[in-house]
């Protein structure tokens, strides 16, 4: 049996399906009779730009409040490599968030790709740039950074929610993960600006860890509070 035979069988099965009750169609049409004009959502590049701006602003504001000790201690080479990578990931996550908020839109990457890239790319960059492998007060300092990064993710998440509030995520869990990861990347950017601890294990585990933890939290929130169509 070739593909054309199967196509024929499927089409025949579809044509054997009963038609919609005309009364039902009339009832549906009647229910949307009073359709008010609506403004379409902003274009994808506007939403993406807004999300990136919010995350960058939140990261810079957080670093200024806590003190930009990290960026002051960094060499020019560190700055030139680290921040473009983090910026690129923020842009990618923002584009994914904007796509998830519109049904049937093309996604730039799958959420799992964002998760892998969001963890591996910064970890690789930090592994190449930082060569201090000591682990003094690893857990104590690490938990402080993880907490600060996640706390920073909260206003970033609030800002992204506000920008995407008119959107409708058909896959609320993927959208929740993307928004969580984006907020986590804002937290990571703030930590790079603020934290002067350049021990490679500290940066790779605790700074990068903000991204998956924040993504997982976003996913959990979406799991228990799925997106509803805006009223």
């Amino acid at each position: 049996m070739n593909d054309r035979d199967l196509d024929d069988l499927l089409k025949r099965a579809a044509s054997a399906s009963p038609d919609v009750d005309p009364g039902l169609l009339d009832r549906i049409a009647h229910s949307v009779e009073t359709a008010r004009p609506v403004h379409p959502l902003a274009p994808a590049w506007v939403l993406t730009g807004g999300l990136v701006a919010v995350c960058v602003a939140v990261a810079i504001a957080g670093a200024l409040i806590l003190g930009p000790h990290g960026v002051r201690k960094m060499s020019t080479a560190d700055i030139v490599v680290i921040f473009p990578v983090v910026g690129l990931l923020i842009w990618l996550a923002a584009a994914l968030c904007a796509a998830e908020a519109v049904p049937g839109s093309r996604r730039p990457v799958a959420p799992w790709v964002l998760c892998v890239c969001g963890c591996l790319a910064p970890a690789l960059v930090f592994g190449l740039l930082f060569h201090d492998y000591s682990t003094e007060r690893f857990v104590h300092q690490g938990l402080a950074c993880l907490t600060a990064g996640l706390a920073q993710a909260v206003p970033a998440a609030a800002g992204t929610w506000w920008i995407l509030r008119r959107g409708f995520a058909v896959n609320s869990i993927a959208a929740g993960f993307a928004q969580g990861a984006l907020a986590g990347l804002a937290g990571l950017a703030m930590l790079e600006l603020h934290c002067p601890n350049f021990e490679a294990p500290h940066v790779i585990v605790w700074h990068v860890g903000v991204v998956p933890v924040s993504g997982a939290l976003g996913m959990l929130i979406a799991r228990f509070r799925p997106a509803r169509p805006p009223a």
Binding site: D8, L9, L10, I28, V32, P37, P103, F168
Partner: protein
């Protein structure tokens, strides 16, 4: 698809508050959305509910359609979302209910209910055996006549992934048909 630009114009008019455009969309697209639900092993009564719920949701989120973009992926993405919610609700209800009769007549709950004129092989049963993602792809591609790109958008996946799912689904359908004794080519199927 030739009617793509028509649908786009209707959708744009609908966003601008034109209720006749909404009615035209309902009359043009309901049949294929209904078929999409019916061919997923969903009873006719539930398909009616799902169709109604889909249009209600479309109405609520009509502002999320971007003028000029393909219409069908947007509709089908929402229809899939409605169906997933339906499965979740049904699953929750089932877990609360006690099973009274083990000998429940499955034929009563068959998709399409009073479907008539069924073709020789039971395509419903074969489609029901497919994983949901493969079934969606096959129905959108072959029954609704959407392009690979449109199906990729509706299912939030890549064109490559859609092709792979369609290929796997066809392999499974072919095996199922062979097991049912339908090996023939076109002539025998008629």
């Amino acid at each position: 698809m030739d009617s793509d630009s028509d649908l786009t114009l209707l959708m744009e008019s609908y966003q601008q508050g034109d209720s006749s455009a909404a009615a035209a969309l309902i009359h043009r697209l309901s049949a294929q959305l209904y078929r999409f639900f019916l061919m997923q092993h969903i009873s006719r009564r539930h398909a009616d509910d799902l169709l109604q719920e889909t249009w209600l949701r479309i109405h609520q989120v009509r502002h999320t359609y971007r003028p000029g973009h393909p219409v069908l992926p947007w509709f089908y993405a929402i229809a899939r979302n409605v169906r997933v919610d339906h499965y979740r609700k049904a699953h929750r209800a089932e877990s609360r209910e006690e099973r009274l009769e083990e000998g429940f007549d499955v034929a009563q709950a068959a998709p399409g209910g009073a479907r008539t004129g069924a073709c020789a092989p039971d395509m419903d049963r074969l489609l029901a055996a497919l994983p949901e993602s493969q079934r969606d792809v096959i129905l959108m591609l072959k029954v609704s006549g959407m392009s690979l790109e449109e199906v990729a958008r509706a299912t939030a996946s890549s064109v490559g992934s859609v092709k792979q799912k369609a290929h796997r689904a066809y392999e499974t359908l072919r095996k199922g048909l062979a097991a049912m004794g339908v090996r023939a080519s076109k002539g025998d199927l008629a």
